[in-house]
């Protein structure tokens, strides 16, 4: 059995004049944990919608299991949650899962196991409509797992949840990933992807900007946010320093990117030696937003392909 689960070939989706997904090509292989990263509106959900048979593609194609199965046959063997959890509100958690087993034509034996995994076994007979959003989302994960899927697709699974809910869901995803399930996690949160994924695909405006290992994307050493009484002296020092990269001024602080991992104590000692009196100093990691900006800016003129 081959390891390729899903392949996309130049898949595009246009809504009128707007191109939501632009000639996207991807391969999803068994055994990896993929992150599909991109800001809101970058085409993540549309891409997933197309491979999940709910959005029609404008051009291009995709195939499941190297074309050995039709899309709906393949979907019976995977599990997916997109956007909000959708269940029959008048049915209990258990009844909903039994229905899903009927649709997926799988045995309903592992319903109990999955409901226990997501901590809903005690509420199995409550109607779906009585659940909180966090519980609904957990039920959705259980539903996506009842057929022991070859691939689990999660689209923004922590969206709209409170911190406790987010924590529970992330813990759950890590547990599932550790069990060896292939996962495709779409998110706009870099740290979410960073925590669980081995591979990452970055989308912006429907175009793929990056595909590869997660640490390749997050390989920055952060930056210093710094201010001193004597600005000129500080600026000269920063410019002369060999381990520092770009310098820019934002509000009253200088932002200096690091080429190398330098600890704050080490650096403040050096500044002290140079006789610079600091008024503000801290080390920060770039936000997803700036990460994206740097990524999209550096690759603006390159072809979208890798």
């Amino acid at each position: 059995m081959s390891n390729t689960l899903l392949q996309l070939y130049d898949l595009s989706k246009k809504y009128g004049n707007l191109t939501a997904v632009n000639k996207l090509s991807l391969t999803i292989e068994k055994g990896k944990v993929y992150g599909l990263l991109g800001p809101n509106g970058s085409g993540k959900s549309t891409t997933l919608g197309m491979v999940l048979n709910v959005v029609n593609s404008t051009s291009g194609s995709f195939q499941w299991y190297e074309g050995k199965l039709t899309t709906h046959q393949a979907l019976k063997k995977i599990g997916a949650i997109i956007e909000r959890p959708n269940f029959y509100p008048y049915m209990s958690a258990l009844q909903n899962l039994i229905l899903i087993c009927k649709i997926k034509q799988c045995s309903s034996d592992c319903i109990e196991e999955q409901l226990k995994l997501v901590n809903l076994w005690d509420r199995r007979n409550s109607n779906f409509s009585t659940f909180s959003l966090g519980m609904k989302q957990r039920l959705a994960i259980a539903a996506a797992l009842v057929n022991k899927p070859d691939l689990l697709i999660l689209d923004e699974p922590t969206n709209g949840l409170d911190p406790e809910g987010i924590h529970q869901i992330r813990k759950l995803i890590i547990t599932i990933a550790e069990q060896g399930t292939t996962i495709l996690l779409a998110s706009h949160l870099l740290d979410e992807v960073e925590k669980v994924c081995s591979d990452v695909i970055v989308l912006k405006n429907g175009v793929k900007f990056y595909e590869g290992a997660v640490n390749g994307l997050t390989q920055t050493h952060g930056y210093f946010e710094i201010a001193a009484e004597n600005e000129e002296q500080l600026l000269n020092f920063l410019k002369m320093h060999s381990d520092l990269g770009k310098i820019k001024k934002e509000n009253q602080y200088y932002h200096v990117s690091l080429e190398k991992n330098i600890s704050t104590t080490e650096f403040s000692k050096e500044l002290q030696k140079a006789g610079i009196l600091l008024t503000h100093f801290s080390k920060k990691q770039p936000s997803l937003e700036s990460q994206f900006l740097s990524l999209t800016q550096t690759k603006k003129h390159a072809t979208p392909e890798n």
Partner: protein, 279 residues
């Protein structure tokens, strides 16, 4: 079969649709209540059951016509069962879980077919019982004549429900779909009026009735013509007034074909809507 089971499972676990379905089947039995209508008013002694409405083979015509009126009630269930899939977004979830769009539609059509056949069976049984009690004739050949009314009943219901299916997939919201159904009835009425008014001037060879019988709701209505004027009691009166009339009450084969073609179009239309739309 698996698809029918899925659909029935969905309906069975909804209290509202369960109540409505049982309500509908119980209402079918309510035609028996007609048999108990007895009016005694001084010298006038009127006992409905003895007016011949339950005579074989007339009973097939009368019961299928009367019970078919209840179809509107069942239309609510059909429209709700599609509308809910849209409003709960469970249609989307069903597709993600691996049901194809064609399978989704088939599960609905099978459910409709199952209910139509159950309904027909009930009409058959209740007519047999009522006829057995009240009919003046009980020879087997007479009992089993005019059974084509049952075929017409099946086709009529199936046509009507597939129309509901199509409308609810088109409009996605149950209440609006029902509203549109009522509106459509009016549209057919008005267009018939307009045709009658203008057509005779434009193309005198074709009468408005000839075109009108191809309209979906009218074609369904024509399948079983009103049975009242066929009652011997009423025909006697008409004869006495000197206004005797001859009307063809039989089930027309052409009509059955027209309705079946509409059903096929509605199902195909539903499918192409499902296929084309993004969810």
């Amino acid at each position: 079969m698996q698809l029918l089971k899925i659909e029935l499972y969905k309906l069975w676990h909804s209290r509202i649709s369960k109540v409505l379905i049982f309500g509908y089947f119980l209402l079918i039995f309510s035609i028996a209540i007609l048999s108990t209508i007895k009016i005694e008013f001084g010298p006038i002694n009127f006992y409905l059951a003895e007016q011949g409405i339950f005579n074989f083979p007339y009973i097939w015509h009368f019961n299928t016509f009367m019970i078919a009126l209840l179809k509107v009630f069942f239309a609510i269930i059909i429209v709700a069962m599609i509308g809910n899939e849209y409003s709960n977004k469970t249609l989307k979830q069903n597709l993600i879980d691996g049901l194809s769009k064609a399978e989704f539609l088939r599960s609905k059509v099978y459910a409709i077919l199952a209910f139509v056949l159950t309904s027909t069976l009930l009409v058959f049984i209740i007519s047999l019982i009522l006829g057995g009690i009240y009919s003046d004739y009980d020879e087997l050949p007479i009992i089993f004549t005019d059974l084509e009314y049952l075929v017409a009943y099946t086709v009529k219901l199936f046509g009507f429900f597939t129309f509901c299916l199509f409308l609810s997939i088109l409009i996605k919201r149950s209440a609006f779909a029902l509203g549109f159904l009522a509106l459509w009835q009016v549209i057919e009425g008005i267009s018939f009026g307009l045709m009658k008014w203008t057509l005779s001037d434009l193309i005198p060879q074709i009468s408005a009735e000839q075109i009108f019988k191809f309209f979906p709701l009218n074609a369904m209505g024509n399948l079983i013509k009103e049975p009242f004027s066929r009652l011997s009691a009423i025909q006697n009166i008409a004869d006495q007034i000197g206004d005797g009339f001859v009307k063809d009450y039989s089930v027309s084969f052409l009509n059955i074909i027209i309705v079946l073609i509409w059903s096929a179009l509605f199902i195909y239309g539903s499918y192409s809507l499902l296929k084309r739309r993004d969810l």
